[in-house]
Structures are given as structure tokens and as C-alpha cells.
């Protein structure tokens, strides 16, 4: 169903919110693609729909164009992020070939990209109507909600003295600190206690720091930031750590006050 709206003051946010939350409440996923376009009309929308269906016969979507804000919304029934993103590529091709695209395309799928709250959805729309960059590329929406404050920390290092020292200092600052002496123990404790922050060395027996971060990523939970505290000074190590999602990388010898400051900064 392609719906075209004109001359109606439409609250795009509200409509989106209603639709998306309805789907999510019923346990279905909902993919959303928002694109900044100009000069669309009903005919265009229909030909778009035909094009999309030809490319992806299993597609079931709604096309809504908000003339006021110049935003095209495509809402995909029960489609997760991966497929939604793929569809956006097809969409972008079409829009660009016909010179309709004026700005960025934002892709999301709920609840995968975050809570289908009205806050998140208005953020989503905002990222299309008021983008930071005007370039015509595809961006994936991520939850902007602020993380909870860090309260529990897991320290992973084979060096007992180092572990003890860091634990002592952090406990003085009021954090709840647990220790692990190798990657395997760290993963166990992580699953058990779900700490807010993990401070880890890279060189660990059984499972090294990288494997640990990998496993944490796979567990798919939102908490569990990682700070790497290591004696490896190579930039290749740093790059790899950041690629695996580390929030920070501190080399030894280090300054304990710097460490605590960086932890506080993560809260912000």
C-alpha cells in the first residue's frame, strides 16, 4: 500500500511511533528506512513500489511520503536489520537514478536497534531531517540512550600484583570489583555477574584479551564496556582492540589517576 500525503499537517513522528510500537508489541520486528527526497508524487511512489517488489518479491512494505518535511518513509513488515539494510541499497539506487535523493538515508529495525520509544523514533526522524552531514549515504541508526553509570568492574590480568593494586584503588573509589586471572575465568565471571566495565590485559592464557572481547560482543548485551590495560605498545594491537569495540586503550606503565579519570569519562 503506497500512501501519498499532501497538504496535510502530518506528525510524522507520531504516525511512525504508532505503527512501529504496534508491530513490536505484537512481537514482530519492524524495519524502517527514512530517506530525504524531493518532488515525489503518487506516480513515482507507485513505480517505486513496483520496482521494489520486482527486486524483492517477498517484500511487504508501506511507503509514506511527508511532503512537509520531504521525508520518504518505507516501513517493512517483520524485517530485521540485515534485510532492511539490504533493501535500502536497492532503494538508494532507484532514488539516485531518478535524481530524487536529497540527503542521507537512515536505516533501523526495531527492537533490534533499540527500544521503539517515541524518543528514539524522534531521534531517528531527526537524523534525516537535521543530519550532521548532508552527504547522500546510508547510515544505520543506533540507540543514543545514555548507558547506566558504571558500578561494577571486572579486572583481568595474569599479574596478581597488578590486579590487586587496581582492585584496591577502584574499591577505594567506590566500585564493586572482581578479578579474573585468565580469559576463561573472565568470561565465566562476566556471564555470572554482568559487570558494567571490564579492564583487561591482552596477553592472557586460555582465552586472550581479543577472544574475550569477541565473546562479549557475541553475547549481544548492551552492558560490558571494555578498557584494555596492557603492556603492548604496537599500534596494530591498539587498532585491533578498537575494531573489537574497546572503549579505551591504556598502556603500561600507566598512571592510576588517569585510569580512574578515563573510567569516569565513560560514564558521560
Amino acid at each position: 500500500m503506497a500512501v501519498f500525503m499532501r497538504d496535510q499537517v502530518v506528525d510524522l513522528n507520531q504516525d511512525l511511533f504508532k505503527f512501529v510500537s504496534f508491530k513490536c508489541v505484537n512481537g514482530l520486528a519492524c524495519g524502517v528506512i527514512l530517506a530525504r527526497c524531493a518532488n515525489l508524487n503518487q506516480k513515482v511512489l507507485d513505480s517505486l513500489k513496483n520496482y521494489m517488489n520486482k527486486q524483492q518479491p517477498e517484500l511487504s512494505a508501506q511507503y509514506v511520503y511527508d511532503d512537509q518535511n520531504q521525508v520518504l518513509s518505507v516501513i517493512l513488515d517483520n524485517w530485521k536489520l540485515s534485510a532492511t539494510h539490504y533493501t535500502s541499497l536497492i532503494l538508494k539506487d532507484f532514488l539516485q537514478d531518478h535524481h530524487f535523493l536529497e540527503g542521507p538515508i537512515v536505516v533501523a529495525s526495531f527492537p533490534e536497534s533499540g527500544e521503539p520509544s517515541s524518543f528514539n523514533l524522534s531521534q531517528l526522524v531527526g537524523s534525516v531531517t537535521h543530519p550532521k552531514k548532508d552527504s547522500k549515504d546510508i547510515r544505520i541508526f543506533t540507540d543514543q540512550s545514555t548507558g547506566e553509570e558504571i558500578q561494577s568492574i571486572l579486572v583481568v590480568d595474569t599479574d596478581e600484583v597488578m590486579r590487586e593494586f587496581v582492585r584496591l584503588r577502584l574499591e577505594l573509589q567506590g566500585y564493586a570489583v572482581s578479578e579474573a586471572k585468565d580469559g576463561h575465568e573472565a568470561l565465566e565471571k562476566y556471564s555470572l555477574m554482568n559487570p558494567d566495565l571490564i579492564i583487561t590485559e591482552l596477553n592472557l592464557p586460555i582465552l586472550d584479551g581479543y577472544q574475550l572481547m569477541n565473546q562479549i560482543n557475541k553475547r549481544d548485551s548492551k552492558s560490558g564496556k571494555v578498557i584494555v590495560l596492557t603492556d603492548k605498545h604496537l599500534s596494530s594491537h591498539m587498532n585491533r582492540a578498537f575494531e573489537l569495540g574497546a572503549a579505551d586503550y591504556i598502556t603500561k606503565p600507566f598512571s592510576i589517576s588517569e585510569l580512574t579519570w578515563r573510567i569516569k569519562k565513560l560514564n558521560a
Binding site: 517477498e58 524485517w79 530485521k80 536489520l81 540485515s82 534485510a83 539494510h85 539490504y86 541499497l89 536497492i90 546510508i138 544505520i140 543506533t142 600484583v161 597488578m162 590487586e164 593494586f165 584496591l168 584503588r169 577505594l172 560482543n217 557475541k218 549481544d220 605498545h233 604496537l234 599500534s235 603500561k252 606503565p253 600507566f254 598512571s255 592510576i256 589517576s257
Partner: protein
Amino acid sequence: MFTNLNLAIYFLYVLVLLNVVFIAAIYIIKMKNIRKQQMIDRFQWKFRDYLTYLQVNLEGKERLRVPPFSMNAVEKAALQERLNEMIDSFTGGPSQKLLELCDDLGFVTKHMNRLQSRSYRVKVDAAYHLGCMRVKEAVPGLLQFLETHKYNSALFVIARAIARCARDELDVRVMVSTLMMHKKEFSDLLADIIQEANVDHAALFGEYLQSGNPALVRLGLAGVKDYHDPRVASAVYRLLDSKDKEVQRKAVHIYLKSAHFLPRNVLNKLIRHERVDIRLLTIRALTELKNHAYLNEMKEALMDPDRRVMYASAVGLLELGNEGVEVLCGSALEMKGAGRGEVIQGIIEDEIKNLSTKLHDVEHLARYNAIMYTYEKTFDKNKRIYRIV
């Protein structure tokens, strides 16, 4: 043989004596070691609380106090070792306080005296400990020791001690020139030693790079190996045309890593260089820069006579977003007949397979879809491998 029997018996007595002496020596050393170990183990317990005190108060303003109990020589040595470890683990304030503590404990004076000893063994031991404690006053004595020292492993122990104690660049420079007199090549180790000194490494290495002395140039190159400062790029610029192959290769590697902006003429020179390894380095660097301006160069490199360069630029194009993938797929199609096309197509398919296992990560998901989409658009749709909905 018969006449030599007495000689043999005499020899036998000597041997028996030697054997007994050796056995005795071994047992004595063993017992000493065991006793020392026992003392150290006991000391660990005694020392625990003091260690906690140190750790808790490292940040504070007060001076750290010496332990409230007395220690014998073995225990003092154990404590010093532990302090050395801690000094090496921390920077700034805590480190400073530990150094002061070492002074208070009398370690500094003790080792300064030992440095003047006549026993070589004692001198080296003193040099090592003075280095750990970063004792600035020791530098002249250490430099003197270094000058007359022969070329072996202990030479570097003293050099490292000097670097740790160095008061300023001059100390480091003198140390370097003394070591250079041995006319041996150990730039990597020396660069590592210099980085222990509390001076401006980048400036020093930059100076060496411009010096014109081949040994110092090599040292400079080793020193800036992992730097990303654009100033380093300008410092090595001259060396890009060096006649020495190793120097040239290292210079190119460093330049590519640290230059934030590659001027066109330099880029063209490097990417069309006659040496394969230079071309490879350039392609890999372009991959890291992820700048779309270099798309054409990467595309050209796909036709490089050396397969490794072709492979590297294919991999690089895959990381350059949608445009890169399109260029790559297009080239693969063009070169289909020439054999290269299939290889490139294989590389694309490998990457698709690789990414399909990582779709839980948003960035990999984006790349996967981009590559899949372009791939299917370019090649026959019937040749689909993967499709994940």
C-alpha cells in the same frame, strides 16, 4: 703405557679431587639457593601489609615511609626487586614517590658505591639497579663504564641504565655515540633503549634521520617506526629515494603511516615504483587511509604484474565502501578472460563468506550488504551463494 702408569695415577688423584670439589660446590650453591628462597617466601608474608600500605598511599601527597621492621640483605634485595617492578608499572607521581622511597631505604647510596667497586660483576649489578631507580647522579659513572666496556650482552644493560637515568638529550646522545663506536648494527634494540629515557624521543630521532650518518639514519628509522606524526613524514621524505634498499623500504613504510595527506606526485612515484615491496606497502597504506580519492590508483594496481599487489588492492577496494566494491566488481568482469577476473571474483566471494559469519555487528552487516548487492548486480543473479534475510 706402563711407564705412564704413575703419571696416570697422579692424574687420577687430581681428578678425584676435582670431582669432589665440584660436587661440594654444587651442593653449597644449591643449599644457598634453597635457603634464599625460603627467606624470600617468608618475607612475602611479612611484607604483605607494607605492600598494601604502599599501594593505597601511592597517590597521596605524603612521602612513603620505610618499612617498620628490619631486613637482612636477602630481604632487602627482594624488596628492591618488588619496588623495581612497581616503578616500571606506573608513571608520574606514584613512580616518583617510589624512587624517593628507594633513596630513603639507602638503596641509591649503596649501589652508587658499588658502581665504583673493582669487581666487574658488582659494577654491572649496580648499574642495573641504578637504572631501575632512575638515579640521575649515576650517569657520569655509567657513561665512563660504558666507554671501556666490550661488546656483549652486558653492554646493553649499562646502556639501558643510562637511558633510564638520563638527565637530558646530551646524556642520550653520548650514550648513542659511544655505542656506535662498536660498528655493529643494533638499531632496533637501541631505539627501544632510547625510549626508556625521559626526553623528547621524536625530536631526537628526527635529528638522527636528518643527520646523514647512515648508522644514525638507521637508528632514526627504527625509532620512528610506530609514529603517526606528520612531522615524521617530512623528516623521512628525503630518504624515500635512498640508494640503500632497507632504508628506502623503511622510509616508505614510515612515510605512508605518518603522512596525513599524500601529495599526488609522491603517490604516483610510489605506486609505480620498480620495487614490488614498495608498491605493496603503498597499496596497503592506501587501504588504511580509506580515501576515495585513490580509487583510480587502486583500480590500476589490480593489473599489477605481481599477484601480491593485485591481491592487496582487491582487498583494499573491498574496504572502500560502495564505490570501491563497484570498481572491483566492474574490473573483475572486465578481466574475466585474462584469468585475473576469476581470481578477483574469488576474493570477493571469500569476503562475502567471511562477513556472513559476523552479521551480529552493525558495521560488518553494512559492508556485507553493500558487497552482496553490488556483486549480484554485476554478476549473473543465478550465481547466488548466500542470501540471509
